[in-house]
Symmetry: C2
C-alpha cells in the first residue's frame, strides 16, 4: 500500500492530534446581494473553521464547513461536541483506518440522535474531516487530488464507510471500478495538467442583480473564455424569462445555460415553470423542489425529458444514502456533490464512485466561501481515478472571496487548473480570519457598531 507505507515512515504513535480549535468566520456578502437566490435572499458567506494541530508536526490542518451567516455559531457548537473524539488520537491510526474513524464520529452513541448524518452535525463533521485531509496533504507534500491519485484502489476503498450503500455499491464493486482506471491514471493526470477542468459561472445570474449588471458580467465572462452560464430562477416566471432572454442575447445559443430554482417549487409548479422556460434551452434545472424529495425529482426528470432539460441536484443532499437513492431512482441527470454538506472527502469519494457505477456525471456545486477551492480536488480525482472522462462534466465557479485563501483557485479560459500546494486548498490567510471572526473581528465590529440594535 504505497501511500500508507509512506505515512508509516513519517508518523508514529507520538504524533497525536494535540489541539483543534474552531472559529466563527463570516463575510458580509449580503451587503452587495452576492449569492442571492429564490430562497437565500441575503447570505453572508461564512464558515465554521477548524485549525488542527498534531504533536511533533509543524503542519497545521485547516478545514471548514460552509454556512450562510446566522447559525454558524450552532455549527461551531457541534464541532466542539465532536472534537473530544478527535483530540488525543494518534493521526496515523485515524488516517489508516479512516472509515472506522469516520463511522465513530457519525455514530457517537449520544450525538447521533441529532442527525444521524445530516444537518448541523454532518456539516460540523465535514469541517473536521477536511482539516484532517489538509494536514495529510501537508505531511505528504501533495495537494489532496494528488494524494487521491497516488492511492492504490485498496487504499481508496479503505476511506469509505460502506454501511447503508452496500446494496448499490459493495467494496468489491468499488475496487473493480477503481482498478479499471488504475493503469491509465498517469495519462489523465498529464491531460489534467494540460487541459484543466471545465467550469461554468454562476456569477452572472444572481436574482439580486440588475439587467445591466447581468449584461456586463456576461460580457466580461465571455471575454475570459467562459462558455457555460447559470442563472437563478424561481420567484417569478416572467422575470425569469426576461432575465433568461438577457443572458441568451449576450451568450448566444451555442453556449450552455443552466437554471437553478433553489428548492422553490412543488412538483406541479416546477413542471409549469420549466415548460414556460424551456424555450431558453437550459441544460438543466437545479433543485426544482425539496432536496429531500427523491420521488418528486424522478417525476420532474421524467416529465422534462421531452424538452431536453436534465435535473441536477445534490448540494443539499445530506449524505451518501440520499445520493444512493437519487441514483437508484433515476432522479438526477447531474450529481452535484458539495464539499462541505457531506462528511468530507471520504463520503465524497463514495458518492463519486456510486455516480460512476450509475453512469451519472458528477458536476460539483461550488461558490460560497472555499467550495471552489475544495471541489476542484474532487473533480480532478473523478477524472483521473474514477470516471476517466470530463465529457458532460463541469464544475461550478463563483468569483467571490478567493482573495482570502493562501492558494486561491486558478481559473483561466473557462477552466480550473490543478492546484499545486500541499493540502486541501482551504487555508485562509491569517489576516482574513482575524478580521472576519464573528462578532469581534474588525470587519464585524464596524458593521455591528453602525447598525441600530434590533
Amino acid at each position: 500500500m504505497a501511500l500508507f507505507k509512506s505515512l508509516r515512515q513519517k508518523l508514529g504513535p507520538e504524533n497525536v492530534v494535540s489541539e483543534a480549535v474552531v472559529r466563527d468566520i463570516r463575510f458580509p456578502t449580503s451587503l452587495e446581494a452576492h449569492g442571492s437566490d429564490a430562497v437565500h435572499t441575503d447570505p453572508d458567506y461564512s464558515a465554521a473553521y477548524v485549525e488542527l494541530r498534531v504533536s511533533g508536526l509543524e503542519a497545521v490542518g485547516h478545514g471548514h464547513t460552509f454556512t450562510l451567516g446566522r447559525g454558524t455559531e450552532v455549527v461551531v457548537s457541534a464541532v466542539n461536541a465532536l472534537l473530544p473524539l478527535v483530540v488525543g488520537r494518534p493521526l496515523l491510526g485515524i488516517l489508516t483506518d479512516f472509515a472506522g474513524f469516520w463511522r465513530g464520529l457519525t455514530n457517537e452513541s449520544q450525538l447521533r440522535w441529532l442527525g444521524p448524518e445530516k444537518g448541523v452535525t454532518h456539516l460540523a463533521l465535514s469541517a473536521i474531516i477536511n482539516s484532517l485531509w489538509d494536514v495529510w496533504g501537508k505531511i505528504e507534500q501533495k495537494p489532496v487530488w494528488k494524494l487521491l491519485a497516488d492511492m492504490t484502489p485498496e487504499e481508496t476503498v479503505s476511506l469509505i464507510d460502506f454501511r447503508y450503500i452496500s446494496d448499490a455499491v459493495s467494496k468489491e464493486e468499488a475496487l473493480v471500478i477503481l482498478r479499471e482506471k488504475f493503469p491509465t491514471r498517469g495519462e489523465r493526470e498529464e491531460r489534467a495538467r494540460r487541459e484543466g477542468y471545465p467550469l461554468y459561472t454562476t456569477s452572472v445570474g444572481w436574482l439580486g442583480y440588475s439587467d445591466d449588471k447581468i449584461r456586463e458580467l456576461c460580457s466580461r465572462a465571455l471575454g475570459e473564455g467562459i462558455t457555460q452560464f447559470k442563472m437563478k430562477v424561481g420567484v417569478n416566471v416572467e422575470d425569469d424569462a426576461r432575465r433568461a432572454q438577457v443572458i441568451r442575447d449576450q451568450i448566444g445559443w451555442e453556449r450552455s445555460l443552466m437554471m437553478d430554482a433553489n428548492q422553490r417549487w412543488d412538483t406541479d409548479e416546477a413542471l409549469a415553470h420549466m415548460t414556460r422556460l424551456a424555450k431558453f434551452k437550459p441544460v438543466w434545472i437545479e433543485e426544482p423542489t425539496s432536496p429531500d424529495d427523491i420521488l418528486a425529482h424522478a417525476k420532474i426528470r421524467q416529465a422534462l425529458r421531452k424538452f431536453g432539460i436534465g435535473v441536477a441536484t445534490g448540494e443539499h443532499a445530506h449524505n451518501r444514502v440520499m445520493f444512493k437513492q437519487f441514483l437508484q431512482a433515476e432522479a438526477m441527470d447531474f450529481c452535484q456533490i458539495d464539499a462541505c454538506r457531506l462528511g468530507g472527502v471520504n463520503e465524497l469519494v463514495a458518492v463519486v464512485i456510486m455516480a460512476a457505477k450509475f453512469g451519472v456525471p458528477v458536476c460539483p456545486h461550488a461558490g460560497g466561501v472555499g467550495l471552489c477551492e475544495y471541489v476542484q480536488h474532487l473533480a480532478f480525482f473523478d477524472f483521473i481515478c474514477v470516471s476517466g472522462t470530463k465529457d458532460g462534466r463541469v464544475v461550478e465557479f463563483v468569483d467571490h472571496l478567493h482573495e482570502h485563501f493562501v492558494e486561491p483557485v486558478t481559473v483561466k479560459g473557462g477552466c480550473y487548473w490543478l492546484p499545486g500546494r500541499p493540502g486541501y486548498s482551504g487555508e485562509m490567510l491569517p489576516q482574513s480570519l482575524d478580521e472576519h471572526e464573528y462578532p469581534h473581528g474588525a470587519v464585524w465590529k464596524t458593521i455591528l457598531e453602525s447598525k441600530p440594535s434590533s
Copy 2:
C-alpha cells in the same frame, strides 16, 4: 371559525411573546442501561427545554425537544438562533397564521442552510413550536388533543405548510378527510374517554437487560394488563433469538411482539436476520436500516411480507417530505411519528392526515423523556378527527421519567387515558428542572465531581 374566534376574544396586539429561555436538561439514564439499543448504547435522556412568556398573560408555555445527552448544548444553541424570530411577535398573529409562522422559522434565509428542515435546527424548532401549543392550550384551558378536536377542518388545515407535500395531499384533500369525520367527532371523544388508547411497552426489551430482568419485567407488564411488547434486536442474531424466546415464553403467542433494530443493518443483513427471527412472529421490524433509506425500506417490506412481518419506521424521518415518500413508495406498514423530531404539532398534523390518505396506521414513537406525554395527544387527535379508528394502532410506552412532569401520562390496563390538564403535558416540575440542568444542577454536580476528568 370557532377556536380562532375564541382566541381573538382572549388575545390582543398587546400580548406579544416577551421572553423565551431555553435550558439544557439531562437525566443520567445511562447509569442503569435504560434505553440501550443496537446503536444508542448509553443514552442520557435529555431535553432542550423552552419556557415562553407572553406579556399580559400568566400562562407560561413549556416545550422541549428530546435528545440523548451529549449535544443537547448544540440544540440549545439552535433554539437561541431561532428565538429572535419569535420574541416580540404578537401571539395572536402567530397562532392564527401558524403555517406562515412555521414556514418563516424553517425558511429563515440564512439558517435554512443548516438543514433545511432536518437535524439540529428542526429539533430546535420542535421545542419552540411545542411551547406555543402548550401556551395555547393553557389560554383556552384545554389539553392540546381537545384544542385539536374543537377546531373546524378549516382551522386545522391552516396549521399546515403544504409546501412539498401538495402532490400527495392538497389543502382541499385534507379538508375532505377532516370533514368526513367531523360530524361524528363527539362519539369518538366519548369512546376515547371510556376506552383509552392501546399501548405497547418497550421497557421489557432493552439490550442492556439480563434475561432475569426481562422475565421479571414481562411478568410485571402482564400483571398490568399490557398485551403488546417490543424488544430491541440487531447486534447479534443468536442473542436476539434467545431473548425473543425468553419473551415469547413469558407472554405467549396470542400477545403481540414487535422488534426494533434501530438502523443497525444494511438491506441484505436485515433480510437475513429477520428470516432467522421470523419464527417468533413479530408484528413489525422497526428501523431495519438507515432512516433516510426509503427505497431500502420498500425492498425490505416487500421481502418480509411472506412472513407476515411489517416494516415500521418514522422516529428518525426528519420531516413531512420524508414521510410523504415513505407513504408514496409503500415503504412503511406502520407510521411512527415522533413528537420532537418533526417540527411540532403542525407538521405532525400534516403527517397524520397523509397517513390516513394512504391508509397507513399511525403508531407513534414514544419513550425518552416526555415523548409519551406528547404523543398521546396526537394519537387521540388521529382517532377523534382523522382516521376515526384505533384498529391496528398502538402507542409506544416506556415507563421512565414520568415523575418529573406536572401531569404524567395516565396508563392503566394496557392503555393511555386522556390527559385532562390544559396544555401539552410537557411541563416538568421546577425542582426536576433545577436539579437536572446541565452541568450545574445538583444531580450533575454530584456525578461530574465523582468522575475522574477525562
